[in-house]
Symmetry: C2
Subunit: 325 residues, 2 copies
């Protein structure tokens, strides 16, 4: 059989016995039409399995209901929750997401940007993990851009970043409230922006790597130092897990002798630790939603500017407890 050509609004109009313009109005609820006409057109559309061609529509309306999401570095663990949040917020507005992975390559990034512009996306969300800020992307006029997780270097751009310092402060407050006073911070590489920000609220910090093995090593260093400590606040969950394991195996009780905290609230690590880790949740899905909503506003003509911080919150598990009297 001849492959049944996909139905156009022409076919619908013909079947319903009206003009194409009328069919369009009936399907979109525009203009003034008799109820009977509307249902006749709708039935015809239903019968033909008609789905409006988005390209044709956006040519006319100058809206594509598409936004691009560019990840600076490769899409990974941090991008996923944000992506979900973004999809969530945009899906409500019937907007789809075009995903672009720049892999830290400026050429790839430029190429993806050109593709997005040629598709006339309604807006762009830029994300990535690397540093604290990144050079703004050049998306010509009329295309709103929101930066998520990392901020644009241009403070006039609109960015949403997690409140990492606030999260760290929450840890410190929590530990202090538990009566812990000799707190050490163990975190990732000193050149890493997040490491420095998270460390900023603690008086004493050890820099290393973002890994469990560094956590174990750091615990050994702390024990060898011989100085008393009753809490270790870690720069991420993996370090915290390493610290926890090493302390336990050295005969120290976590959380009674030493409280330990993580950062990122990565369930697979934090919940599998013994004991499960108190950790900072940056609410990346919420951050993604926030970025998407700001983008929607910008698309609607109310662009926001400046860097907005999105609150983090503490998830308390068994690795922190008040000092024994």
């Amino acid at each position: 059989m001849p492959r049944p050509r996909i139905a156009t609004i022409r076919d619908v109009a013909a079947l319903a016995g009206v003009a194409v313009g009328t069919a369009s109005k009936a399907l979109n609820g525009q203009g003034s039409l008799r109820a009977e006409t509307i249902t006749r057109v709708r039935q015809a559309a239903e019968q033909l399995g008609f789905v409006a061609n988005a390209a044709a529509r956006s040519l006319q309306t100058r809206r594509t209901y598409t936004v691009g999401m560019i990840t600076t570095d490769t899409i990974g663990r941090f991008s996923i929750p944000m992506l979900i949040g973004v999809e969530d917020a945009l899906g409500a507005g019937r907007i789809s997401v075009l995903l672009c992975d720049a892999r830290d390559d400026p050429i790839r990034e430029r190429h993806h940007l050109d593709v997005l512009l040629s598709r006339r996306v309604d807006g762009i969300i830029v994300t990535g993990r690397r540093a604290g800020t990144r050079p703004p992307i050049d998306a010509g006029p009329g295309v709103p851009v929101v930066y998520a997780f990392l901020a644009s270097a241009d403070p006039a751009d609109c960015s949403v970043v997690p409140d990492e310092a606030g999260g760290a402060q929450a840890v410190l407050d929590h530990l202090t409230a538990l009566g812990r006073s000799r707190i050490v911070h163990v975190t990732g590489p000193a050149h890493h922006h997040s490491a420095r920000v998270r460390a900023s609220v603690f008086p004493d910090s050890l820099y290393g790597a973002w890994s469990e093995s560094w956590g174990r090593q750091a615990a050994a260093i702390l024990l060898a130092r011989g100085q008393h400590f009753d809490a270790v606040a870690c720069g991420n969950d993996q370090i915290a897990r390493g610290v926890t394991d090493a302390l336990r195996e050295a005969g120290h009780r976590v959380p009674h002798d030493v409280a330990v905290t993580g950062f990122d609230n990565w369930a697979v690590i934090a919940e599998a630790s013994r004991p499960p880790l108190t950790s900072v949740d940056m609410d990346l899905a919420g951050l993604g939603r926030a970025a998407a909503n700001l983008l929607l506003q910008a698309i609607a003509g109310n662009p926001a500017t400046g860097t907005h911080t999105h609150p983090a919150h503490l998830v308390i598990r068994d690795s922190t407890v008040a000092v024994s009297p």
Copy 2:
């Protein structure tokens, strides 16, 4: 200043002093034009920052250079590498990916499907983690679909799945070659398709959950059973890590007394274990590439059918070693 309207091919043609048709030919290298004309048009386009409107183009060419990727369950750890592989293979063909997250909700899935169809995507990749097969999606005629990771229930559809049984067999062969003969398999829930497939090659299996704590619990069960065993092949890396920790803490040496293997090769778990885990890598990125390439072929008019298995391979680390003589 009046916002400079985005340049169209009309503007380019006017600036270059040619007709729009000619400009189009010059930019796309069609027809026969003088070299001088071509460069003149290209310069004009460059000067105006012209980028062709993809909607208008695809209206004409009936190609959108877009494919949709629908994830059945929520996009997560398994989708990422596949997504990267897909993007990789499609990016070469200048095709973009529209990401849709159905979250196990048939309504959402139907909605996303309609959106993709209205966008006239060139093809669709369906992925997800849940079961071994899933009902085929209803993407009208003319839109090729490839299922990745899980297969379509209709064997005439085109699917690409990891060779889980082959991976498990590779583990068994590896352990056997090391002289291990009393092998126990510890894996996830019995109702889970992957658990059963992976278990199928082992004579003795314990079903539980996909977690570290189940791994620890299983190790305790094995030790309490009192039967000798010299290897534990686990259904995933988290279980393997739990098993490893529990065995070590019970005074057994891994890998000398007992060899342990994981599955999935999830770096953050496998490499952080003590010792690092020998594990099966399903090459999800490669699987994504394979699926994308099959889709490209289908789009080009050569659809493949049937379920293709993509090979897995063993990554050998320190958790497996030959039995001491």
